[in-house]
């Protein structure tokens, strides 16, 4: 006879922050990766190096690029760790992903594009629609992430505690 596996709320709650961070890191890394692959490599909308770059921009860009690899790989190992602890909480993980991804995109769209002017989304076109879509989608992602987190907390409240399987 097969029964549905019990949801391990005790472990989920215990590792809620870790779930959230796994999501945030993965979201950050994923969006940075998509930016690099789609916009740099496939569409060539912006380039490897733009002339307007200032030293500070180069450093910030380099740091973020380096961090994005770490974030992606590290987050996936965190997920594996949560799974073996029977503590993976998809709603929180996804909430974190949306927040992390949205936050990176918003940072890229406002600070890197507008304040430091490292590069723009495209060249020789009217930038306003691109900026609105870019930053607007970032805000939507963050909001959706926060809503998911709230919903997850509601799920957790009032559920029967199940003994942790893994100490």
């Amino acid at each position: 006879m097969q029964r549905k596996p019990v949801t391990n709320w005790a472990n989920r709650k215990k590792f809620q922050t870790k779930n959230l961070w796994a999501g945030i890191l993965f979201g950050l890394g994923f969006v940075a990766f998509v930016d690099e692959t789609v916009f740099h490599q496939l569409l060539h909308w912006h380039k490897f190096y733009d002339k307007s770059t200032v030293a500070l921009g180069l450093v910030s860009d380099g740091l973020f690029h380096a961090f994005s690899w770490f974030a992606t790989v590290g987050a996936l190992y965190l997920v594996a760790d949560l799974r073996r602890r029977d503590a993976l909480w998809h709603k929180v993980f996804w909430g974190g992903k949306l927040i992390g991804g949205g936050a990176f995109q918003l940072y890229d769209g406002t600070i890197q594009h507008k304040v430091m002017r490292i590069h723009q989304i495209r060249y020789d076109v009217d930038l306003v629609p691109y900026d609105v879509v870019w930053n607007g989608s970032a805000v939507v992602m963050i909001a959706a992430g926060l809503l998911l987190l709230r919903s997850a907390n509601q799920d957790a409240r009032g559920t029967k505690q199940v003994e942790p399987r893994v100490a």
Binding site: F48, G62, L63, A66, W69, R165
Partner: protein
């Protein structure tokens, strides 16, 4: 470095070194496998070591070395082999573990005392290794060193030994495959690695914008992009190995309580 005789010298020097590295390692494996109480030396490590030695040496001898004197793009391919991919593969061969296994007890103790000593400890420190590795590259490509290296044979040899050694030190300071004096925490190693990786990426883009003296712009750009993305590829492997080692060590601290509820 366009002189025929110089090429012959470096071919012989680095060729012999690579040959000796492979021969000694294989002899070590033979000795280690003769000991009945020891686990058989993993075959995969032999593959890592031999391919690491060949890849490192390929940057210094034969056709790639000749090309790299003439074209910056090929020089950068050689740099990736000698400073990153080669050292990584060699480190995965776990030479120190093999050495400690094969040496007589007395000498093995001396080696491990040396590894615990102040000298080795300084060089295996992640920060030292990162500064030597990335700092050395900044020096090489942003000063006249790069041009000088091609005029003086001894400088050429010294620079390449440095690039290789620093790359190896950096790899082993991040991944403790072999026994080392001190294991630094994962967060610490992670931060150092991110900064080093960033330093490498920033230098690549810097070279794209400001080619080293005497390097044509087009070659510099292709080389810089190769350095950037190639560096990423090798570093991605190191990151995955670093986290895998964390995942495993965190797993040993888990105590599994058998599940009472039948699934």
């Amino acid at each position: 470095m366009s002189h025929e005789s110089d090429v012959v010298v470096t071919d012989w020097l680095f060729g012999m070194l690579a040959f000796a590295a492979i021969a000694l390692y294989l002899y070590g494996v033979y000795r280690s496998d003769r000991e009945k109480h020891l686990r058989r030396w993993p075959r995969l490590r032999i593959v890592f070591w031999i391919s690491g030695a060949i890849i490192s040496a390929s940057a210094l001898i034969g056709p790639l070395a000749v090309l790299s004197h003439a074209y910056f793009t090929w020089h950068m391919a050689g740099h990736l082999f000698l400073g990153m991919l080669g050292p990584l593969l060699l480190a995965l061969g776990a030479p120190v573990t093999l050495l400690l296994r094969t040496l007589p007890v007395q000498q093995a103790r001396r080696v491990s005392r040396f590894l615990r000593g102040r000298f080795a400890r300084f060089y295996i420190h992640p920060v030292t290794a990162a500064v030597l590795n990335i700092g050395g590259l900044w020096l090489l490509y942003t000063t006249d060193l790069f041009a000088m290296m091609h005029d003086h044979l001894w400088l050429y040899i010294l620079v390449h030994i440095h690039v290789f050694t620093a790359g190896y030190l950096f790899t082993v300071s991040m991944l403790s495959i072999d026994p080392v004096s001190r294991r630094f925490s994962y967060p610490f190693r992670t931060v150092v690695f991110v900064l080093a990786l960033a330093g490498h990426g920033i230098l690549s883009k810097f070279l794209y914008a400001y080619p080293p003296h005497g390097v044509p712009v087009e070659e510099a750009r292709a080389g810089a992009m190769l350095m950037y993305y190639g560096g990423d590829a090798v570093d991605l492997i190191i990151i995955a190995l670093l986290f895998r080692s964390w995942y495993r060590s965190a797993g040993t601290r888990l105590t599994i309580v058998p599940n009472a509820t039948p699934l």
